[in-house]
């Protein structure tokens, strides 16, 4: 098991100064890896300063673990160098592919849940873990389409993947909810299907409801449905490091701290029960 870091927030440039000035009651920050894969300047300056005050985890979007392209050695080397610099509690990325034929779509593209995909992913995750010298966390992504070829459910796929690759999971509760609407499954069945001992972190975020499906926008407060699913997730998983991921329409820090207090309250209530 990894350590429980408590309740964290995504580290966003809008909040750099407020964090350093006010030292808000946040247990850890999650930094977007790619924002800091730069030679120098402001982003790394603030990352170092905030790291000296808070625990940190790194969360990437470009590992492209599911791509059929070879792993990007330059990216891995840059990631490892950054990890050596800031010594994160862990490194995470997404269960997705981000491009083919040398092109990067800068999107978290969904994978089919097939044996072939598992056989492709397992050695790649192991290769990354061997390179970094530690287990990584793989996050479930939101998706708007599903493949005919899928042979199992998303949660069955994640469970098998984490066991076979010996990796950990970053469970995005918002993404579970989004996919449960988009692909019409019971989100609680998803939560029940995830191996408890593999989940090292939870993400919470907001989304945008379309007429018949949901887009995972990370630009709004967490919805009541996601809070309710989070509470039921805590019932099953117990205390797990939890963070709120806001990527657009970034509000003042106080607003996110208030949301974080809701998460604390829900888990406190769960612990008391």
């Amino acid at each position: 098991m990894t350590q429980n870091l408590g309740f964290g927030l995504g580290l966003r440039p809008d909040h750099y100064e407020a964090i350093l000035a006010d030292r808000p009651p946040v247990d850890f920050f999650e930094a977007l890896t790619e924002n800091y894969l730069v030679p120098g300047g402001k982003a790394l300056h603030y990352l170092d300063r905030i790291r000296s005050e808070y625990p940190l985890v790194l969360h990437g979007v470009s590992l492209s673990i599911g791509s059929t392209e070879p792993l990007d050695r330059n990216y891995l080397m840059a990631l490892k160098t950054l990890a050596q610099r800031v010594e994160p509690a862990w490194v995470s990325d997404h269960l997705c592919w981000t491009g083919a034929s040398g092109i990067n779509l800068h999107d978290l593209m969904p994978l089919p849940y097939t044996r072939e995909a598992l056989q492709h992913l397992v050695p790649r995750i192991q290769e990354v873990q061997d390179f970094l010298g530690e287990r990584i966390l793989i996050e479930n992504v939101s998706s708007y389409v599903a493949y005919q070829a899928s042979e199992m459910s998303e949660w069955e796929f994640l469970a098998q993947l984490s066991r076979e690759a010996d990796c950990l999971l970053l469970l995005d509760v918002n993404n579970v909810y989004v996919n449960s609407i988009n692909h019409q499954f019971d989100p609680d069945e998803f939560i029940r299907g995830i191996p408890v001992d593999r989940v090292a972190q939870i993400h919470l975020a907001g989304h945008e409801r379309q007429e018949t499906f949901i887009i995972d926008t990370h630009d709004a407060p967490i919805t009541d449905s996601v809070w309710a699913l989070y509470r039921r997730t805590c019932e099953r998983l117990g205390a797990v490091s939890t963070m709120i991921e806001r990527d657009a329409n970034i509000p003042p820090l106080e607003e996110l701290l208030a949301e974080l207090d809701i998460a604390r309250g829900l888990t406190d209530a769960e612990a008391a029960a």
Binding site: E34, L37, V38, P39, G40, G41, K42, A43, L44, H45, S62, S64, S67, T68, D72, N74, Y75, W97, G99, A100, S101, G102, I103, N104, L105, H106, D107, M109, L111, P112, T114, E116, A117, H120, Y144, V145, A146, Y147, Q148, A149, N182, Q210, E211, T212, F213, I215
Partner: protein, 263 residues
């Protein structure tokens, strides 16, 4: 279809709107299937337009949201991203703008894009320590003609032939806005970072010539020879020393080196 073909087909649908992936996806006959697929197809372009707007805020302001969107989508459709970081996407915008029919201001818009790309480049260039003035004090007098300089990694030079720097400054509330983007006398600029703050200033022709020599690794002696083209011989050493002091005070120089001279 195997994973590799599946990914290539999906990518071809996003980049070139080529049909094919639909047959591999569930619920393709549902009424909302197009909107779901669009979350990827339109999302790809929207994300890159947004990233380019972050790199080129004044170009966006100048063109207006709609025209910026149109121009960037043209660029996106001709230039897929090949870097893991979206920060590096957009290196070709200056060239792209130069080729567009933009009502006679193509050169200025291209120059503006090149300016904003240079600012971005300075913003996250490597951190290195500025030269300590005490290091210079250690240079033996007879070694001075052979002293050469390494500039800080953030230092960039920029040549303009339009009023885009004034335009950019106005867009950031630093001066009155010129009436229009227009050609202007050739000017040379110096951009660099001090700590995390990006700075720039103009260079007069004499300093520009001397700085170009320093930038290329020329020795202090060669810099003086270059200055002799502009100043009286008696003033050259004073002018060169004065420029050097200024460059050090502005933290433009990282290192100096010289060869020991046998006595």
């Amino acid at each position: 279809m195997q994973l590799r073909e599946l990914q290539r087909a999906f990518q071809a649908r996003i980049l070139a709107l080529e049909p094919g992936i639909e047959a591999q996806l569930k619920d393709a006959r549902n009424a909302d299937f197009g909107a779901r697929l669009d979350a990827y197809v339109r999302g790809y372009r929207a994300r890159l337009v947004e990233a380019l707007g972050t790199t080129y805020p004044v170009l966006k302001l100048t063109l207006g949201d709609d025209e910026f969107d149109r121009q960037m989508r043209r660029y996106i459709d001709s230039t897929p991203s090949r870097n893991y970081s979206v920060r590096h996407y957009g290196a070709g915008i200056a060239e792209h703008m130069a080729m567009q029919d933009t009502g006679g201001v193509g050169q200025a818009l291209s120059e503006l894009a090149r300016w904003e790309w240079t600012l971005a480049d300075v913003f996250d260039a490597p951190d290195d320590a500025p030269l300590d003035v005490a290091t210079l004090a250690a240079v033996p007098p007879e070694a001075w003609p052979g002293v050469s300089f390494t500039l800080r990694a953030t230092v960039r030079r920029f040549d303009s032939e339009t009023n885009i720097v004034e335009w950019w400054r106005a867009a950031n509330g630093l001066c009155e806005r010129p009436g229009a983007l227009a050609p202007s006398p050739a000017a040379q600029w110096l951009l660099w970072r001090r700590g995390v703050k990006t700075l720039f200033r103009s260079l007069d022709p004499v300093e520009a010539a001397a700085f170009a020599e320093a930038h290329s690794g020329a020795t202090f002696g060669v810099i003086c020879e270059r200055l002799a083209q502009y100043a009286d011989e008696a003033d050259v050493a004073f002018r060169a020393a004065s420029l050097l002091r200024g460059w050090i005070a502005e933290e433009l120089i990282a290192q100096c080196s010289w060869q020991d001279i046998e006595q």
